[in-house]
Structures are given as C-alpha cells and as structure tokens.
Amino acid sequence: MLAVFKNVLTPSNVEFLAKGMGLTLMLSVLVVIVSILFGTILALLRTYEKRFFGKLAGFYIEMFRNTPLLLWILVCCFMIPYGTIVIRGGLALTLYTSAVIAEIVRGGLNSIAEGQFEAATSQGFTLIQTLMYIVLPQCFKSIIPSLLSQVITTVKDTSFLQVVAIPEYTRSGFVVMGRYTNTSEVFMIFAILAVGYFVICFSLSCVVRGYQKRTEMAQ
C-alpha cells in the first residue's frame, strides 16, 4: 500500500496534479461568480418582468436547465471561433450554471412578500434600491443552502471539461494514469482524485455552515 502510494505520488506527479487542481479551482470560482451575477439578473427578469425580457429569460433558463451540460461543452468548444479552449469550456459551464442558479434565486424571490415592495415604495425607495437593499439580501439569506449545493455541483461539473482535453484536475489524473499499468496504482490515482474533490467541496460546506452559524448568533 505504502509502496503503491510512493510509486504514484512522485514529486513531478504531485506538481502536475496540483496544476490541474489549480485550474479546477480557478474555473470553479470564476464560473460561480459570473453565474450568480447572471443568474440573479435572469431570475429578477423572470419574476418581475412579465413581458418580452421576462419571457426571454424564461426561455433561456428552461433551455439550458433541461439539456445536458456535456452538449453545451461540445457546442461551445467546437462552434465558437474565439478564445482558448479553457475560456470556451468555462463559458459553457457558466451558461448552464447561470440557468440553474437563476431558478434557485427565483425560489428565494418568490418567498418575499409583496408587502415589502409596497412598504419600500412608501418610503421613497426606487425599484433598483428596493431590490439592492431590501429584496436581494433577504432572498440570498434564504437560499444559501441550495446555492451552496449548486456551487459544490459546479466544482464537480468542471470534471466534464476533461472530455475536450482541458487540463483540469480529472484530466491531469487521467494523464498520470497513462504511465501506470498496475491495478492498485490505477485505483490509487482514482482515490487521489476523489480525495481532491472531497477536500474542496467539504471545506466549502464547512465555511458556509460556519458563516451561517455566526450570522444566526449575531441575531
């Protein structure tokens, strides 16, 4: 067991896997940030704008949410003539994740009573101010758990990008695997991959849970 571990985890392999992990983290962070921004806009449109743009947002959300992510990765990577393969892959992930996050945010918006708007208007808040200072803060607070699980899913979804040979964590694991023919060594590499994703996602849960507890205590 220890011999297998030493065989697989050579300094160069560790460095190579760390690079893959770095790309996975960078992609996840960017995709999540952009998706939350874009998803929130989509959700606001779909909830409060019942005419053209609201319908457009609804169409976008339903289209991306009900089709496989892999399809959009292939479409973006082969049909968009600009950018590097990493940018195109990240774009596909963002388009898809935005639609899913939009629905999560919409759930939060629906839980906010109509009276909040009326109260805000009576105090002279404009629509944008109402959204920024009153509606969205309450909305995000209530959706943190489901948002967190989507962020975790997105971190794991980046592994789909290995299909188009983007050198993220899973891909680097497969490249390392090319050199090993022994069953136990191959399984060791799979285990290392699994542990990597587990560490990222579990620490993410811990951080968010800790934050929630602190804010609850503060109240």
Binding site: F16, K55, C77, F78, A165, G178, R179, T181, T183
Partner: protein, 271 residues
C-alpha cells in the same frame, strides 16, 4: 399559452441549427472541388498545428515532470515540421480525445491529427488519411509456463478481454475457424485483466498489441497470433488536399528508408 410560445420558439431554434448545419456542409463540399492553398497556409503561418493524444503510453503521453507530450506520434510531428517548415520545433501540439479530434480538424484548429486514428472506409469519406504509419493488431499475452504456442493450442481456455472491446469478436471468429472452443471473461480495466492472468483466473490477456507490450514481464509472453489488424494514419481536413499529399509523400519516404521503423523500435512498439 406561454408553453405554446416556448414550444414554437424551440422549434424555430431547431430550424436555425439545421439550416446552419446544412449551409456549412454545402459550403465545405463546394470548396472541396477547388484547388486549395492549405500547404501554403501552413508554410505562411510558420507553424504546424497537430492534434495528438496525451494519455496513450508510447504514442503520445504527457511527461508530468516536463509538461511536454512525448511519444512515437510526437516524433512524427517533429519530422513533419522539419520537412515542411525546415524547423523541427515549428509545431504546436493540441491534446485531443477520440471525441474531439474530428471536430478540431473540421473547425481548422489543427492542421493534422496524429492520434492513434484508425483508418476506416467510413472515415475516409470525411477526412484525408495518409498511408498508414503503424499497424496495430489484437494479440494474446499468456504465462510462459502455460505451454501455449498459439491460439490453436488453447481449446477450453478462458480469455480476458476489456469490456465493449472488439477484440472478443475478432478472437472468437478465428477460434471458430480453427474449430476450438474458448470462453471470455470481461474486465473494466487492463490492469484488472493482468491481475486475473497473474492469479490464474484467465489463461490469456487479449488486447491491442501496442498496449500489451507494456504488460510483458519475466513470467509472461506474447503469442505470435494477430487478430483484427487496424492501421493508424495521419488525418487532415478533406479539402486540405495539398497538405495531405505532402504529408503522404513524406510518410511513404520514411516508411521506405526505415525512419519510421526506427521510431517504432525506439518506443518499443514492435511487439
């Protein structure tokens, strides 16, 4: 009402996609008949862009220490860059997978694909292939002390194959011709089959010869039988005629003067 509208929008989108697909395919067939400047374009760019595998040992495998892709097929890329552009290092490698190598050729991101791409009649309709630079065939790895000299001796033997591999049919066909009975046991990964061979659960390990080479050790040997040969060729876009002709004549030259033979030996692929 909204559902109805969405459905019609979806239909319109499908229509647009289909139209786009049609127009792009007619576009490429129009240009195919014309003479092209694909070789000139490569010379003008000063760099040969090639798609290679990065996870296949001895053909194209990324070295985790240097970050470079190394292997038999990468050496062919270097030769081609030296021949076409006069500079062995005037190449740019793009890692490809079985799913991406075709589309990357089509959208022009790579000029050539040298990535264990098997030549088939069907694929010849969509891509140009050079003369094959390597022929791989399914082989059998057995224990030295088993006494097997070939498939003909293996009546009643259990053969370990990878799941969903074509090797099973190929061996079965030859076994039927020779009038012997063999049975198969399927495994998910190659190392598992090797473990099964070592522990005696199977009598032979059956997979592509180039992969089998990596599993030979003191106690095992590869039998001379070969099944279902498949040939690997350098692929280029169908309308890149001048480039594919140049590549083909180079490959033929290197096949004749033993350059390719030398590379095959260098990477231990002549099992």
């Amino acid at each position: 009402m909204i559902m109805k509208k969405m459905l019609s929008a979806l239909l319109v989108l499908c229509l647009v996609f289909t139209l786009a697909a049609c127009s792009s395919s007619t576009g490429s067939s129009n240009t195919a008949s014309k003479t092209d400047g694909s070789l000139d374009a490569v010379v003008k760019a000063g760099v040969l862009k090639v798609g290679v595998k990065e996870d296949v040992p001895n053909f194209g495998l990324r070295n985790t220490a240097t970050g470079e892709i190394e292997g038999f097929e990468v050496d062919i890329v270097k030769l081609l860059a030296g021949k076409i552009l006069g500079d062995e290092n005037a190449y740019e490698l793009t890692p490809v997978t079985a799913k991406t190598r075709g589309p990357l050729l089509d959208n022009g991101e790579v000029d050539l694909v040298i990535a264990t791409f098997t030549i088939t009649d069907e694929r010849k309709l969509t891509y140009n292939f050079s003369t094959p630079y390597y022929e791989d065939a399914v082989g059998l790895l057995v224990k030295k002390d088993s006494g097997y000299k070939g498939l003909a001796d293996m009546n009643g033997a259990v053969i370990g194959v990878a799941q969903s591999a074509t090797s099973k049919e190929a061996v079965q066909k030859v076994a039927d011709e020779k009038g012997i009975k063999v049975s198969f046991s399927e495994y998910a990964t190659y190392p598992e089959i090797k473990a099964a061979l070592d522990s005696g659960r199977v009598d032979a390990f059956c997979v592509d010869g180039s992969i089998l080479g990596g599993y030979v050790d003191d106690t095992t040997m590869i039998l001379p039988d070969r099944f279902a040969p498949q040939q690997y060729g350098v692929a280029s876009k169908l309308d890149n005629v001048t480039l594919s002709e140049a590549v083909d004549s180079d490959i033929n030259e290197w096949l004749k003067d033993g350059t390719i033979e030398g590379l095959i030996t260098k990477w231990g692929l002549n099992y």
